[in-house]
């Protein structure tokens, strides 16, 4: 397996990784999370939003950022934030606020 010619795999389906496989899934949102950085603990001891986000679209560095291109707007982060620092606002765009 170390040497030799790699076979042409178009004979069968093999996918390679990339983000946005299903497109910009941010489009799926009907509500958008908005972080109130003042309310956020800004402490590594929390990070519950990062921990619980199924899509892994929240950064782990403070100030936390949510990748709105892909966030599906499920609202788990807002629900689980112990300081209520994340607010779900209607619409796909946080500027609706």
């Amino acid at each position: 397996m170390k040497e030799g010619k790699v076979q042409d795999f178009v004979i069968t389906a093999v996918s390679k990784p990339s983000k946005g496989e299903a497109g910009k899934t941010g489009d799926w949102r009907s509500q958008t999370p908005v972080i109130d950085q003042d309310k956020c603990s800004q402490k590594e001891s929390c990070l519950l939003c990062w921990l619980y986000c199924p899509d892994g679209v929240i950064t782990r560095e403070f100030p936390l950022e949510i990748d709105l291109e892909y966030c599906k707007g499920c609202g788990i982060c807002a629900q689980e934030c112990p300081r209520k620092a994340i607010l779900m606002v209607d619409g796909r765009d946080p500027s609706c606020q």
Partner: protein, 395 residues
């Protein structure tokens, strides 16, 4: 230097797998395939064959595990029969669709219900549309030779090969079989070529969901849709007729024996009447041809070795001068007629020569077929009495 042993076809199959240095064996016992699994287990446990042996709980798992092992790069082997083969059906499609070079021995046996453990070819014929290459052996020598050739073929075209031989009739019958030396097999069959796999790519998703139409890949290049990939399989299957011929020709050069490539003829050169068959029944037909020649008829036999891909052009060419064609086969497409008869008739449609055609279903569930019977029935067909019939029916 030639090592001839008086062994069964099952022993020949197990020895062939060993000579091909298979790395993963996975199998579930079923009569009449069982001795293959036992002999391979002994070879592995004794250390003569360095391989992983999975004693799986079913044929579905046997095929699932060899396909997966093949996908990570191992040379794999399994064997089955009858209902066991049917239990694999889903996985047979998967093996071919995955383009894994799996080699399997199919020890042909009739399919229940009612139960029979004895021979016919309904089992493998029922799997002909799974995308596998199917090679049929007329004797035990062809079993060992075909399995060795099967790896050569499978690993070139990435299509699995089913080497079919008749249960009991060959599988349990001892005959002289020439066993090639390991050295010679090694020079014919190099180690399996590397596949895209764990060392080339760290991340990939094999056989994912696919759309009907092409879709751009990560770099924006268009990747095929389901139908395109399936078309590729069909194209590769059709073009591998040449690969099968070449594998046999190379084998002949090195080992001095041939299995006939995609089909073989017996006294066909001057034949006015052809008997067409496959498996051990075709060998039986050669004796019927001798008997008919004694009766003054110029009869030859055309044996089909590669049933899938179907060697349409080779068969049509071999039959271009005959007046009649008589088919004997041990299978039937229920509600119509024998599978080989249907395929050959459709092949001859485009031929300039349209010989008179008769087809027979014979020997289902182990019913004995004598050369004399074949000769008598072929005689009736040649003289124009029969179009389609089952022989030896005892109502």
């Amino acid at each position: 230097m030639s090592d001839v042993r008086i062994i069964t076809a099952n022993s020949a199959a197990a020895l062939a797998a060993k000579l091909c240095r298979v790395q993963v064996v996975s199998a579930y016992p079923i009569t009449p395939q069982t001795p293959v699994t036992e002999e391979l287990a002994e070879l592995v446990e004794s250390g003569e064959l360095k391989a992983e042996y999975l004693t799986v709980e079913s044929e579905h798992s046997a095929m699932a595990s060899v396909v997966a092992a093949s996908q990570v790069g191992a040379r794999v082997f399994t064997a089955s029969s009858a209902n066991g083969l049917l239990y694999m059906h889903e996985m047979l499609h998967w093996a071919a669709g995955s383009r894994t070079p799996v080699v399997m021995a199919c020890v042909n046996r009739g399919v229940g219900a009612p139960w029979t453990i004895l021979n016919d070819q309904q089992d493998s014929i029922s799997q002909r549309d799974t995308g596998w290459i199917q090679l049929y052996c007329k004797n035990s020598q062809e079993v060992i030779d075909s399995i060795i050739q099967a790896y050569k073929i499978a690993e070139q075209v990435n299509i699995p090969v089913m080497v079919c031989y008749d249960g009991f009739i060959l599988s349990h019958t001892t005959t002289p079989v020439e066993i090639p030396s390991q050295q010679l097999v090694d020079s014919y069959l190099p180690p399996r070529p590397p596949v895209i796999g764990i060392s080339e790519y760290t991340h990939m998703n094999v056989n994912p969901l696919i759309l009907s139409d092409p879709r751009p890949d990560v770099d924006g290049k268009m990747a095929p849709g389901y139908m395109d990939i399936r078309y590729r399989l069909q194209q590769d299957l059709l073009s591998c007729l040449d690969v099968i011929k070449l594998a046999d020709r190379d084998f002949h050069e090195l080992f001095g024996r041939t299995c006939g490539g995609v089909c073989w003829g017996y006294k066909m050169t001057d034949a006015a009447h052809a008997i067409v068959s496959f498996g051990s029944l075709a060998s039986e037909c050669t004796l019927a041809a001798d008997l008919l020649r004694q009766r003054g008829l110029r009869v030859g036999v055309l044996g089909v070795r590669s049933y899938r891909p179907f060697p349409k052009d080779d068969l049509v060419k071999a039959l271009e001068a005959v007046e009649t064609v008589t088919i004997f086969e041990k299978d039937v497409s229920y509600g119509y007629e024998g599978a080989l008869a249907m395929d050959l008739k459709s092949a001859l449609y485009e031929s300039a020569n349209h010989p008179r055609f008769s087809s027979y279903v014979a020997g289902l569930g182990g019913r004995d077929v004598l050369p004399e019977t074949l000769a008598d029935e072929a005689y009736r067909a040649i003289t124009g009495e029969v179009k389609h019939a089952w022989i030896n029916i005892k109502n």
